[in-house]
Subunit: 419 residues, 2 copies
């Protein structure tokens, strides 16, 4: 087989996407996975539970893409019209699929241990013109249709059910079907430099990039990812990509966090684990968000001990031992309090490093002297304590995210400088 | 003006959406806000930084919608082609806009306190055929175009910049322009009952709903939202919607968390605040996620004191006072440990209520006896402690989210039953 360029579209179905009640995370996952096997997603469309809109999107996307992935609209409730529509679009008849039926019965009898309902049995019905994709994680089967040399794959909208089908069936089958030219990304993460300053700095590099390698900027909460992308499988192209990536790394060395597509918390975790060191946190304004980020990494219990979330000032005093006079004199959001929180956290949590936050996230609580967005971040070990001052200008959520990102970056630098 | 039905499309631009490196949260926000003023979003499309794809989507969406909102592709870097494209599509010429220029200069000189770069000055250039939407939160101005009685509005992809423009300019202008029939939603939240069982229970209700009122199921992490939607402004329709909503509430009374579109943590916060009670948490497996949810609600410091995240067992003993023998004998993930964590949290945090979690979130750490997904949740006050056992069957992230949701629901019920 000669390598061919395969384009995909993603259609997500459901009114909840159009009234904004649900954020679509499925599309990002599907796009990522398709990308890895060399299929380029060039359109994503979301439509409501409306017959004509779904029908039209099947026609349109089938015109521009060889592969159309569809999620949503396969639940057991009456607002789901996707299956009858697919049946009519591909000119089939609904029939019970025995394996899907066995699966539905098994889930209800052995896992949920609940009586089976008529509407659940109907989930085992599929158009007789499709290949069924069995759902090992739920009751709605997936469906694989082919029409005019186009592949249409319908999956449930529940993320972990869709993911199961992608991994077990959809991705392997698509790989088998096409001779796909790989799409290769090389990504690095920077922190503490704005997009325009970064762009200014790598301007020369960017203008001399060969035409088959593309640079993208992905800004996110005080960090910017830089990504180089090449499509193809030649050794020459690979070598070229690596050499361009090396050049890019050199240009941003001082602000680079890592030269892989990793999160800040993954990087911090790797550094601590490799040095056999432990960390703990004491959070005020971030209210557990730093701990959540750190513990979202599997295996984090190796280096993460725990946190004291001292949202109330009396807990800063009682658990962390911050001097009440310090809080009275300088306020809970101050260099002095942050510094004492570090010492308290080290003592109470018995870790090698402690990272602390105290600030005003908004919308309320700001004063003329300490407006919303005022943040102190502290970091330390047995020998040394550092504090850093920030002033973010955003809403509660963004201020919290920026504080957490900056805190983790401060810890990262502190650990790296610690001999 | 007679009321008219206005349809909108949302176009998001950027390769990062198509390779799955970014999750699109802008579309959900825009859809929500358009909905509130009575504009129905019937399509959302994401395209890459590709001239033909963007051009085509403008043509297509302009055919089916009176209003087209566009985000992304307006940054200061070279991979952004949106502005030149819009300029050509609407047959204009790029010119410096003085107010936008003043804004860019002001941000660099007075807020960022950094030197202004040539590429930032270029951000003040806009096509001379658009009305400029000033950006009070960033350097890229928005643009309002009109063509063939269609409105096209281009905004930056940075969420809080886009939101600022929506609130200050886009939504008020659209409201002025059209006589919009309101879209009214009535939403309630249930917890602890699956979608199919809920559907079975309200089957009769659903089949007798008048055709101008629509029911939707929105399942999310152990909770299901039920939403009734009516479009129009007649008193009769409003009365009908209220009466149907009352009937629906009656049918799900025992599993209903709240009869508004609120999150579980907002509901818990309201109950505690209204009773002048306080809560604290002690988290092991959820690693700060419960605390994060609780503190994501503005004003939560009124009722939330803090948390001890005892990720390491020694902290369960040292800070919370869990008997080491109990941990040795029953394990950290056990009814006995959860129960002692409640007592320890109440003592250390000095709150009216304590909520605790201990479990195995995966992918590692499971055993035959206690597989991944085993969770104990504890809740208590000075007089009483309760523990609840769960076994979730999902991945780390989903297990964490389900644990947090169930924990908050358990606390909610405990507080409501407490006299």
């Amino acid at each position: 087989m000669a390598a061919q360029q395969v384009f995909a579209s993603i259609i997500t179905i459901g009114d909840e996407l159009l009234i904004g009640q649900t954020i679509d995370t499925n599309s990002a996952y599907m796009a990522q996975e398709l990308n890895k096997i060399g299929i380029w997603v060039h359109r994503r469309v979301a439509v409501g539970d409306v017959w004509e809109d779904i029908w039209k999107s099947l026609e349109e996307e089938g015109r521009v893409s060889q592969v159309v992935l569809i999620t949503g609209g396969l639940g057991p409730t009456a607002d789901d019209i996707t299956k009858p529509l697919l049946c009519q679009y591909f000119e089939g008849k609904l029939m019970i699929n025995e394996e899907a039926l066995f699966n539905v019965k098994n889930i209800f009898q052995n896992i949920l241990k609940r009586p089976l309902l008529e509407r659940n049995l109907k989930q085992a019905e599929v158009p007789d013109v499709c290949t069924v994709i069995q759902n090992k994680r739920g009751t709605a089967p997936g469906m694989w249709f082919e029409k005019n040399e186009r592949i249409f794959i319908s999956m449930p909208g529940v993320p972990h059910e869709m993911k199961g089908m992608m991994i077990q069936t959809v991705l392997p089958e698509l790989k088998d079907r096409f001779a796909l030219p790989p799409i290769i990304h090389r990504t690095l993460l920077t922190a503490g430099i704005g997009e325009s300053f970064l762009a200014e700095r790598i301007n020369d590099f960017e203008t001399t990039l060969p035409s088959n390698i593309k640079l993208a900027y992905l800004p996110n909460y005080g960090m910017v990812k830089l990504r180089l992308t090449a499509r193809g499988r030649s050794e020459k192209l690979m070598a070229e990509l690596e050499s361009e990536f090396d050049m890019l790394k050199e240009k941003v060395q001082d602000v680079m966090v890592v030269d892989e597509d990793l999160t800040m918390q993954q990087v911090v975790g790797r550094i601590l684990a490799s040095r056999h060191k432990t960390m703990g946190t004491a959070e005020s304004c971030t209210g557990g968000y730093v701990a959540h980020l750190v513990t979202s990494v599997p295996g984090s219990s190796v280096y993460y001990k725990g946190s004291v979330i001292s949202y109330a000032n009396e807990l800063k005093h009682e658990i962390l031992g911050v001097d009440s006079k310090i809080i009275d004199q300088y306020g809970a959001v101050s260099k002095e309090t942050a510094s004492q929180m570090v010492k308290g956290a080290l003592r109470v949590l018995k870790t090698d490093y402690a990272l602390v936050t105290t600030g005003i996230m908004g919308p309320d609580g700001g004063t003329a002297e300490k407006p919303v967005g005022t943040v102190w971040i502290g970091v330390g070990n047995a020998g040394k304590t550092e504090t850093h001052h920030f002033h973010f200008r955003f809403d509660r959520q963004r201020n919290t995210e920026l504080t957490a990102t900056n805190a983790l970056n401060i810890l990262r630098k502190f650990v790296l400088q610690d001999h």
